[in-house]
């Protein structure tokens, strides 16, 4: 066990890398869902992007070409879903599942000749001036171009949805497709484009894993990240800025997991304090914001604070009782992202009190008359 071996700079830098694929896929899915379409095939589109990107990067010798190919591959696969749901009026949930099944199988089929190969690397893009800021420079401004691209895309998607005519039409289609149709908007065309955008973004996210994060090709390389991206869209209440927050939260968890594993520190040794710290930060922010807006309600705030501290204490006790057993710790480390997703989904769903704030037409079939 060696706490000192964890460098904060390396930790935060790896956090940004770990968050990028989740952010890309979640942004794409958010746009699709804002148009009223629930595409559960993110995992399949991601892994198709991962292998298309990998194969094209190797064949062409350029990682950038790989990313372009990945976006095209993801978008192409998503068109299968578009045909099923928009032209043949198939139910969206099973269609998305079918897309994942086909995508995972197809990726494994395409990927067979590429097992064990190494892709061409993508150069880092150091941002001049900013890169020499102490601490923040190496953490934020010495990454590959895709990291910046993902954040720029997040801003663009946010601006598009909120301030442009196109964004307004897309949201109208997602909130009430009959009204949008009556106004003369092409509901089906908007949705097909949104599905394609979601596919391209998932493809980019997948290629980021196979070309930069790992970088290698193995079967099932996306390992559930597509599903986590779907959960993040729900967690983010379909808002772009919260998607960024959610993706970075999960990226942080993944980075923490890898760093702790490398430094041989049990998760239960750190987690209780992190949970309690999060409680304190939540309390401070809630009190500050509450008294600023004069909406402070002390009781529920204290209750949430107590819940944080309670969970932290329980984790602490489990750690002490099991004496930080290594088998339990390995299980906790490897399953942390999935358990955290469930916890986050439960918390956010309980908060919204059942009234889902998702697009009103999410998952509903539209047929023009």
């Amino acid at each position: 066990m060696d706490l000192g071996s964890i460098s904060l700079v390396a930790f935060f830098a790896s956090l940004m890398v770990a968050s990028t694929p989740i952010l890309l896929a979640a942004l794409g899915e958010m746009v699709t869902e804002r148009a009223g379409v629930l595409n559960l095939g993110v995992e399949g589109m991601m892994i198709i992007g991962a292998i298309c990107g990998f194969a094209i990067a190797i064949e062409s010798g350029s990682a950038a070409a790989g990313f372009l190919g990945a976006a095209a591959g993801g978008a192409l696969l998503s068109m299968l879903f578009a045909i099923l749901t928009q032209f043949l009026y198939a139910t969206q949930v099973p269609s998305g599942l079918a897309l994942t099944l086909v995508g995972v199988g197809l990726a494994s089929l395409i990927g067979q000749p590429y097992v064990g190969e190494s892709p061409p690397l993508m150069g880092k893009l150091h941002i001049p001036v900013f890169e020499s800021i102490p601490f923040f420079g190496p953490v934020m401004f010495q990454h590959d171009p895709i990291v910046y691209l993902s954040l720029i895309l997040a801003v663009l998607v946010g601006v598009f949805l909120k301030y442009t005519r196109g964004g307004l039409i897309l949201r109208a289609v997602g909130e009430n497709h009959d009204a949008a149709h009556a106004l003369g908007y092409k509901v089906r065309l908007v949705r097909v484009m949104a599905i394609g955008f979601g596919g391209a973004m998932a493809g980019l996210g997948g290629a980021y894993i196979s070309l930069i994060r790992v970088p290698q090709w193995t079967d099932g390389i996306t390992g559930g990240i597509g599903w986590i991206a779907l959960a993040i869209v729900v967690f983010a209440s379909w808002k772009p800025e919260r998607v960024v927050f959610g993706a970075y939260l999960f990226g942080g968890l993944t980075a923490l997991q890898l760093n702790l594993q490398a430094a041989n520190i049990p998760l239960l040794f750190v987690l209780p304090y992190l949970v309690m710290l999060a409680g304190v930060i939540y309390f401070v922010i809630a009190v500050a914001v509450g008294s600023w807006k004069k909406t402070l309600d002390v009781k529920p705030t204290l209750k949430t604070f107590a819940q944080f501290i309670g969970v932290g204490l329980v984790l602490l006790l489990i750690g002490i009782a099991t004496n930080y057993a290594s088998s339990l710790d390995l299980l906790m480390l490897s399953s942390a992202p999935f358990v955290a997703t469930i916890v986050v989904l439960v918390v956010i769903s309980a908060r919204s009190k059942g009234a889902s704030n998702g697009p009103a037409m999410l998952g509903k079939i539209f047929q023009a008359h």
């Binding site: 599942l97 079918a98 086909v102 494994s108 089929l109 067979q112 999935f338 358990v339 997703t341």
Partner: protein, 361 residues
Amino acid sequence: MISLIKRPQPSKTWMVATPVLAVIVTMILGGLLFAAMGKDPFVAIRTIFWDPLFSPDFAAYSRPQLLVKAAPLILIAIGLSLGFKAGIWNIGAEGQYIMGAICGAAIGLAFYPMEAWFIFPLMVIGGALGGFLWGLIPALCKTKFNAPEILVSLMLVYFAEQIMIAVSLGALRNPEGNGFPGSRNLAQYASSANPELIAGTGAHWGVMAAFAAVVAAYVLLSKHMLGFQIRVTGESPRAAGFAGVNSKRLIIFCLGTSGALAGLAGLFEVTGPAGQITTSFNTGYGFTAIIVAFLGRLNPIGIMLAGLLLALTFIGGELAQFMLSLPSASIQVFQGMLLMTLLAMDILVNYKIVWRKKEAV
């Protein structure tokens, strides 16, 4: 021009005809895929669908395998179909299958090396309970907090896989296994074994359970109040509310039952064909069962037939891998395409396609 007219009611004829049509179309598409991979499509399709049953060289080995592979698929798909009918999406059967196997195996291993008649029944109960509790988690997350059961149940698959790896390396590892991961072999321990009951058929206790599940589901759906409630909820949740259906109880029932059946499937697998819990115990039955449920039109008899067909693709796929070195992933693609084709053809069930001269509206 072509235009679609929504049918007032789904066409019963097309309900039955489309799965058959989907299989045929998928065979053609699959043949094209195999041809693109440089294999003779006719030989490949024959190796997958004909040889396991009728080839004199392989049928003796392959035929019993049909029931062995179909049993878990049918058991799981019957459970899933109840929820799917009511619009409750349990897509985490794979996790419930794993947890059933782990819980059942743990009970059996706790008694080792004692020999007694009650050990296997206890394990069966443990397996069902393990799957039931794992299915109950998304159910409670849904009823208490309104968390989407699709995502929660799916996340629990990854969690269950990690638990499976942890127990194969730790708690359930065979102490006489020379340090290799994996539990003791339960099929070789008389009190926990799930042997072939009728020689040469492959029929073990899981096959019996699968048939029992088909009959029970048929009776439930056609004769019982609960079956009626499931159907009403699926067709119109609002009407179900007026009819006094307790939707929370229904969610818990559907997810719990499908969890228990998936757990049973896992238990019968680990005590029979698989023999032990290892780091790679699960083989995707829980996901393939989703295809089985849809291909069987969520109808118990249909599911039985679809289960046999998809079991055949598994066995034929293995044979094709062995004979033609066809990659195993191609069978996965094939199964996924089957679901897609079927969903595409649903348009025939719900819409009437008519030719109509273009005219001013």
